[in-house]
Symmetry: C2
Subunit: 264 residues, 2 copies
Amino acid sequence: MAGGSREPGRTVTSKVLAILEAFETSRGALSLTDIAEKSELPLSTTHRLVNELADWGFLSREPNGRYQLGIRLWELAQNTGRQLRDAARPYVQDLFSLTGETAHLAVRSGHEVLYIDRVYGSKRVPRASRVGGRLPMHATAVGKVILAFEDDWVRDAYLDRNLERPTAHTHIDPRKFADELAQIREQGYATTVEEVRLGSCSIAVPVFHTGRIGAAIGLVLPTSHASTMTRHLPVLKGISAQIERATARIPLETLIGVHRTGRD
Amino acid sequence: MAGGSREPGRTVTSKVLAILEAFETSRGALSLTDIAEKSELPLSTTHRLVNELADWGFLSREPNGRYQLGIRLWELAQNTGRQLRDAARPYVQDLFSLTGETAHLAVRSGHEVLYIDRVYGSKRVPRASRVGGRLPMHATAVGKVILAFEDDWVRDAYLDRNLERPTAHTHIDPRKFADELAQIREQGYATTVEEVRLGSCSIAVPVFHTGRIGAAIGLVLPTSHASTMTRHLPVLKGISAQIERATARIPLETLIGVHRTGRD
DNA sequence: TGGCGGCTTCCGCTGAGCGGGAGTGATCCC
DNA sequence: GGGATCACTCCCGCTCAGCGGAAGCCGCCA
């Protein structure tokens, strides 16, 4: 028998995208069954769509039969947000060279910080973030500094939610956090100490664009350096100014390709 | 009237992917009409699919109504090829720091070199490549060195085609080029002088993985440095050895996510 | 040898997708 | 200001692409 218990109202497009998103949470390659489960599609439907995606190079199949996101997807996506990343990259690199610490460039995307670029050395550091990854704003220095300089309504909307708590050191009291943001705005930089994960602390400064907060750059260091991390402030501010200069002529909308909030 | 002259045999999936690929060739944002033309779809169909893609964040809409690839696509794609890029990044960076020249990491994808990573300074250099971009193998140092160390059948298949000629200096005689590859294999590195674009030259060495050619690292310099570029060879070889060590434990298949050829 | 788990293929039913065309609204030029 | 143009949005009934249960297949293990 056929075509019986289909789930109506689900578009093909949404199924295809759900399959691609199934790979977001997983580290390695997925079997067909894994994909079907994650995307909540029948196996035969998954099979058909996955095959077509693989034909187009959007998925790739390993010799063992498992699937991974394909290189075509990555190639295409290199165009996204390229303007900001390309323009800022050399300066983020300088930031790393001058400090020897893991350097980040991040923007706000909805209620989270989105890491756009990262430059780091070969020494192992405990890292919570990755390029293309997201973290809560109130737990990271880049996030705090962006939030501090955002429009009031963004900040209010953010505080008007339950703030999650990755570690015991994360500040989650809305009142105290609002005060902290005010102080950050005044002093021009933000710090965290073991608020995302134990063992690391961070410091960040804002990057402005056409008078508004556009992004943030920051450093992550081992907690042992926490007390002296403000010594990197002059470098951070200098690099920030250079990025501001380098991106000034690029219209904000084309910098990233995120509508920054879901306000519409 | 409705549903009359549809073009049958084109799957929804293929339409969605065609829309995404429409952005590959274009620099900036596209209007709905542009997308419809590039993907060869009726306007109303394009409209429907584009809207759904935008809802999912795979496309983003600028205030002026034009569309760009969305940030979701980019986020997802960060997982692709991450193993190789993440493992190699610090070393590619060292390569740049130690030489002061634009440093590249590339692999073969079909008959082209695919640039996986690039580290460069803030000084303007004429650059033909970009991360996620492709170039012909016979015109680039990374491409030549990969081809030189590839299996015979890959090399033979490559030479058995018309080689395109980006500049007048590009080597396109199959016989001579085969000899050049033999010499590259012997000397352990490849160079180009103005073979991709005038004004720049390059030098590259292989990066092996489980005894086979896996990738290549290279430098791009102004042509004026062409005569002395071999002085970077010790650094190139040292960095290559480090990358080989850092990637040795990662299975080849998971490094990139490309089936390297269409041999199946 | 038989059972199992995962992948692939088959096939007739049906609603998601289709796209022409009409509606809208911004822009430009006379 | 009006009317021509252009680009996007929406509507709606027809129809075929997609659907997915089930059967088949294949490799593995005991």
